[in-house]
Subunit: 377 residues, 4 copies
């Protein structure tokens, strides 16, 4: 078990009643130095079927992971290597890519060609048609995508397990959803699937903690700027809009346009999405929807929790877990439904969901290796 220093093994050996290292799957993390990377390391260190076999990165290449995150130094002392497809493929069966947008679309096909399964945390494999991706992410890049990009993209699957579980199980490349789309789509999906709302009426007012911006040194992410402030951004043009619309359209079996507005909350972790839609049937009551939501999610979906009537989600309740908590209200005065969902943006909204996909890809229970009990307060 390479990921543990000898001292740590001595201390913690009795904590693992889990498979021997030889039975574990070797995984690599490319882009290990960011917040996505450190979440993956944290989760995978605790995963009973996995060994972290390779860390790679660009700006952090040559440094030890323990220098970047000293608190994990006792548990993982691997160096971060320069990105080398051959080396990664030699060491790993599965590779997580936690890189800026626009890199995975080149890297993933090479890894796949060498036998690796890939979970990508960027936007590169989230879109069914790369034209949509280009329009929102690379508007001035006429040379992109190539036919090879299109071919690779056609084989990728959107990694939202609660909606695309079976496709994920069979996939070699998974495009893990954005944080906002995860929270928003889990909130709205049952209504669209059952055709209960006017699809043109959807308004998603979403709010995220500051860790969503990553570990990049930007003035707008400084403590002094973010703390004691709250503001919207990307109004009418945030890149998660087409991602949400693509899945809504898929669920509704008709084109759906949504109004999506993200805001920055002065806290580290958590997304809360408040979704408004007009009900087709004004006679629906909250209990109807609770039953619908529980049926949609409960049986197979250990990570979605529908709250009782009158209870609305709080990000603190799901912080440090892979859970999505959903609360539902109907307003008879306005004939609207208000669905509120809360996730930990770095877990269910990012790295946790990627591990959930990994579990599905290997036929393991969906909940294994993922935190279910948050600390409070």
């Amino acid at each position: 078990m390479r990921a543990l220093s000898r001292g740590a093994i001595a201390c913690f050996q009795l904590m693992s009643d889990s498979p021997a290292a030889t039975d574990r799957i070797a995984v690599g993390i490319v882009g290990a130095s960011g917040y996505g990377g450190v979440q993956l390391v944290r989760l995978l260190l605790d995963h009973p079927h996995v060994t972290i076999a390779h860390l790679a990165g660009h700006s952090s290449a040559g440094r030890k992971f323990s220098e970047l995150y000293p608190h994990l130094g006792a548990f993982l002392d691997l160096p971060i290597q320069a990105i080398d497809v051959e080396a990664i493929a030699r060491d790993c069966q599965v590779v997580f890519l936690a890189l800026p947008n626009g890199i995975a679309c080149t890297l993933a096909p090479e890894l796949q060609a060498r036998g690796c399964r890939v979970l990508d945390l960027s936007a590169d494999y989230r879109f069914r048609t790369l034209d949509t991706y280009r329009e929102w992410y690379r508007p001035d890049d006429d040379a992109w995508p190539t036919d090879a990009h299109r071919a690779a993209n056609d084989r990728a699957v959107y990694g939202l397990p609660e909606l695309y579980r079976e496709a994920i199980a069979a996939a070699d490349v998974v495009g893990c959803p954005g944080c906002y789309p995860t929270a928003s789509l889990l909130a709205i999906a049952p209504l669209l699937q059952k055709d209960l709302i006017d699809p043109d009426s959807i308004i998603i007012d979403a709010k995220s903690g500051a860790s969503g911006a990553g570990r990049a040194a930007k003035i707008g992410s400084l403590f002094a700027e973010v703390d004691e402030s709250f503001h919207p951004y990307g109004v009418t043009n945030h890149r998660h809009t087409p991602e949400i619309e693509q899945i809504c359209t898929d669920l509704a079996r008709q084109p759906v346009r949504v109004q999506f507005t993200p805001h920055l909350i002065p806290m580290v972790r958590g997304i809360l999405s408040t979704v408004y839609a007009t009900l087709r049937d004004p006679g629906l009551v909250a209990d109807d929807l609770l039953t619908l939501y529980r049926n949609s999610y409960s049986r197979q979906s250990p990570w979605v929790r529908i709250l009782p009537p009158g209870t609305y989600p709080r990000t603190k309740w799901v912080s440090g877990t892979n859970t999505c908590a959903i609360g539902i209200a109907i307003d008879p005065r306005t004939q609207r439904v208000v669905v509120m969902s809360a996730i930990d943006n770095l877990l269910k909204g990012q790295a946790g969901q990627a591990v959930q996909c990994l579990n599905i890809m290997h036929g393991w229970p969906e909940a294994i290796g993922l935190p279910k009990l948050g600390f409070y307060p």
Copy 2:
């Protein structure tokens, strides 16, 4: 100048090129121990035409103000007296009431009968018809309101200066607006006045810092509960809903129902309101609305600031000021307008607005004695 201790006078005497104490109006603050009270004290200590002549309260009666707020002790060392209408009226020309709902409706008529003008910060005088108030605030109180309550209420004015400036100037009792209604109404008013939106389409997704809950010792307001969390509350049934609807209805000259959802932000001060509405004319562009908003507010309204296109408000920009900052976006994809407004919930959302009304009632410039330059960061 009773409000200053001798030492402080010595230190700061040169800071006041302002009217002598004898020319100042004597004001009282009833409910001086809460966050509304301390804001009023802070503002009025700096107001050139006012002297704080009387502090009163219920639970804090008998204590000195400087015990409750030691940082202001050098500037105001008055005791907080038990609430005594005769004593208040003897000491004061104007009285601010910063009390829980349901008390001002009894106290204000008595003060008015003794010649005082009253600015009430509670909900008691915000509603044109007390039936609406009773429905949302005192649903089980059949004995209320009496005819006397109704008569007093008929003479009260809604204290949102940007919309009701002239009525405020002539009023003896002003019902100062709630914090959420202030931010929301300033955002939406020009659209309703000009009939540019579908009035049934208004959705107000509002977010407030924790000081809005006041200085009451409640578990839900503890640091450990609020910090690093974000959540909605009062979904579909918050009491500020009918207050917003009443004014919207007045502006639109037709009944308006709004969807209003408040959320709690882990920060002390600030409200941000994100307002969505469907445009009647899909050909409108952002510049049209900017012109409309600037015309609506700029000439007479020093405390509303319309931001340039593409700039959206941040609560930090207005913290510690009486300013309401408004940003406007049009989404041609959805034919909606998104108006975002930010205020300091304790100033423009509460005490600052009350002082602005005081200025209007006395024919002083609206901006006098109120902070315009916030500290940043």
Copy 3:
């Protein structure tokens, strides 16, 4: 396994490769509604050798635990019962007491008489001589302690595993240390044991997050009061002073007086203790002390982590874990040593340490059932 609802069992059953419920020890938590209680519930739900069999409380009696902490409702749906010694002893082999000071000293002997082992999180069993306790905690209570109290106290053990591991293993009543003493004593102990510092020179400047004040509704703990502020309290007279001095005296084999000053940090979790002392031997260098500390702790103490030279602890590194991280600096200019220690005040500083003691009392590995990998950021 009563502590899990059926649905949760279905979802998470594969996560437990752990002993069957019949092999687990039944534990109870008295005082389950506070922050100490919810930490214990959280930790014990994940402990492979324990079943939560009984919850009791005073003010919360009659309510369900899931009402107080909805986020844990899927995992523990026990009611909180009124405190009844017979019922507790019938259900439990081990009882955690998480109550205000002054109650455990009456409750623990009764539980012990009925065969329960007791871990007390209050101050009641922390003092070798009850006279010291009375002086600092009950100065006006001449009727206390009785001989029975003294007898019970004589059998209790101070629950700081790194210093009193063997005594804890044999104890029936463990008085778990305070949060500040835990951080401070682990920082200073090796120096006193080896007689390397002037014992009169110890100054402990300690800082704690707001959760240390518990879930009591107090104005001083409100978000609006605590956030964006920092202040000392209990200067020269905090009750953790005699607790620290008692253990320092024990370690130094001579009377030790310390200067202890706690401060409140605007954050939820974490204590950082900065300890200053004058070195007897000015020729000591940092490497000497690193070796000493590593020898003192590393072999048997999985929960103490000595940081490399020049690295100083951050509370975020240990948040959500039972780890105490210690950094050491020597200042040759002043001939002082500066030792800095960080813990999660609710885990290593409270509930986690109690579970660590439980592990020792049952001969289980010290690290079992306790979180070692914190989330970051």
Copy 4:
């Protein structure tokens, strides 16, 4: 009055009963884009005897100030010019330098030669002997300082008004103190002046909000890193140590070495310094020291506030003001005095103090143009 846009003048003209623009002194700010710069702009916009005539900067040259700080855009719309000594001297009588260390020592002499008085906020003019400065700030720069640097430095004055008021009044170049030294020296000065403590016993445990690191994009200053964390830094070797020692030595008339440890608090503004020292006379009581401190500061020093016995300062009390609040405790058990001081690190710790020096240099009252009433909470 160039600093105000026409619209703002219309709105706010009645707020200024202050001197006409022609009587105002023209000041410039070099380094206007940082947090020091924006504080200066904010304060000087409200100063009755000053007009902001020139903004300059390096990285921000060519941009408008209102782009960087939109919330002040209505009040100051000057461009930030490239640093040009001739242009600055032509426009300004007084220049504030808010630049990184090592630039002012070149710029100030040139400005002074052209008739400008200079207030420098960097470390360049804080040291009586440049050898000390070089040792701590430029250890590898053998070519520095030149004789010209030494000559310029000999004419500079340390800008802590409470200690060096008369020298400041006559100075042409003022080296404004660091934030930590300001808080620490005001806490300890009366004790050293009266020889009441053992000068070798001074330990300063200081804590600062995150704005002290400035508006530089650094990973360590990101919200996600700073929030919910607390840690020491610069242990035994922070550059403010020799600055504090220099003034302590001056006050004590004998060499003084201090132990100084700074920590980072997860909040924006504020420093709290906890200072420990051993009393020479163990019979001293708190009242003696209160009298001493009040005598030392009260008469001439409007910005130092000595708190009553048993009251200890909170950073929130002084946030947004130029006040330094000091609380004093004596511990008869240890014969130590504990002095705690709180300031707003960006006002009394930086820009506010510079304006206070400006007031002294021009014979204006020390308190003029500076905020005395903080907002709370």
